[in-house]
């Protein structure tokens, strides 16, 4: 039924989730979250979800923890600021209420999972039947870019708008691109120069393999953004790229996605639907440009975190 690996992995997830919630030091909380990401990636591999595990490893653990660690290391707040707001008279009251409420909610919901009748969703059959019409063979890429294209469009738009928002928060014209990074050991630039070609190759492979196998625009964009962040951390000059190319790259994916969606109505099809004849070309073009936009957006998040106006 259930293997000891699953039992241990589940217990480890709970333990590390506690580690990323309970301690009072920002650094410990952040490191706990990093470890939680790694464990959850392993859980998803156990559950046969290779695509999601790749996405979690790239976006969830890699980039998110990069942002968090940067925030924790650079934040002016002293360690120990992670405490709860104590009520003035009974300092134990809020933690106690929190623990009791959490325990009750967990027991009730877990009881639901244990008692509920197990039925599969009804969309499984139709998805399998219509997958050949999307032009790609891999189910998840097909769902993301054909069946739920509207969702994916809005999702890329959210990343674009977030990047626009953080750019607006830093008020000057991406001055961070010229700001110097803290000194790093000499080994890092060497390692970066060796790693970046491999990372670019991996990103492109994830992108093009996405039509047949696990991979796709989001995983690929995360790997490419990680290559950019590594290059920036090891003092490789990206000023020209950041100043002139980052913003066009940010919007090109969403714009081309919308334009490709408009081809449908001109040919008498519904919006955002691809004809099987040219579906593969459309999906591939959109996916390549979307990857550019995702990488640019993720890199922008890292870049603007450095010194938003007001932090001096």
């Amino acid at each position: 039924m259930i293997s000891p690996v699953d039992l241990a992995l589940g217990a480890a997830v709970l333990l590390v989730a506690g580690l990323s919630l309970v301690p009072r030091s920002r650094l410990v909380v952040t490191m706990g979250f990093l470890a939680l990401g790694v464990l959850v990636t392993m859980v998803w591999l156990r559950l046969d979800s290779l695509d999601v595990a790749l996405a979690e490893a790239g976006i969830g653990t890699g980039l998110l923890s990069g942002l968090m660690v940067w925030l924790a290391v650079r934040s002016p707040e002293p360690p120990g600021a992670g405490g709860m707001e104590p009520s003035p008279r009974l300092p134990w009251l809020r933690p106690a209420v929190g623990v009791v409420c959490g325990a009750v909610l967990t027991v009730v919901t877990a009881a639901v999972w244990l008692r509920v009748e197990d039925r599969l969703p009804a969309w499984g059959g139709p998805v399998e039947e219509q997958l050949p019409d999307t032009g790609v063979e891999h189910g998840i890429t097909g769902v993301l870019l054909a069946f739920r294209a509207y969702d994916t469009l809005l999702e890329s738009a959210i990343l674009m708008l977030t990047a626009a928002a953080v750019m607006a928060l830093s008020s000057t014209n991406l001055h961070q691109a010229a700001a110097p990074m803290p000194p790093v050991p000499l080994a890092l630039p060497w390692a970066t120069r060796l790693l970046v070609p491999a990372l670019v190759l991996l990103g492109l492979w994830l992108l093009f393999a996405g039509s047949r196998d696990s991979g796709g625009a989001f995983q690929s964009g995360a790997v490419l953004a990680a290559a950019l962040i590594l290059m920036r951390t090891s003092h490789i000059d990206l000023r020209g790229l950041s100043t002139y190319l980052l913003r066009p790259a940010l919007v090109v994916g969403v714009v081309v996605f919308i334009l490709a969606g408009l081809v449908g109505p001109m040919l008498g099809l519904p919006w955002l639907s691809w004809d099987p004849d040219w579906a593969f070309a459309a999906v591939l073009t959109v996916e390549v440009l979307l990857t550019t936009g995702i990488a640019a957006g993720l890199y922008m998040l890292f870049l603007t975190l450095e010194n938003p106006e007001g932090v001096r």
Partner: protein
Amino acid sequence: MLELGFDAITWYLVISTAVLMFGMVRLLLVRDLVARLVALDVTGLGVLLMLVALAARSSDETGAQAAETGAAGPDAVLQALVITGLVIAVAFTGLGAVLIRRIEGAKDTEGSDSGEESPSTAGERDRDD
């Protein structure tokens, strides 16, 4: 107490519920902004864990039912939803992180007169006590 007759998917569903609930409770109670952001992410991770566990049921069913529904491997629709969720999580965390930097930077310069340093010294900035 739970009997040990349940399968791995139910086990992960229970785990994800616990992660989700305690992330949420911590999110509501904690004061520090970074800890709040991490708690929000842990809550999101609990939801995603739940969705992947539900998706894995499709590949876990026996051959008869799999042939009936035509599904092989985990549910692609739910997995695509989880990838969407991961990207959204990065988006809100990035925005939240930059907002925290802005808020705490403003707090930092309010108490001191060193607000007019050049951006290049930001790395060496010490906290004013």
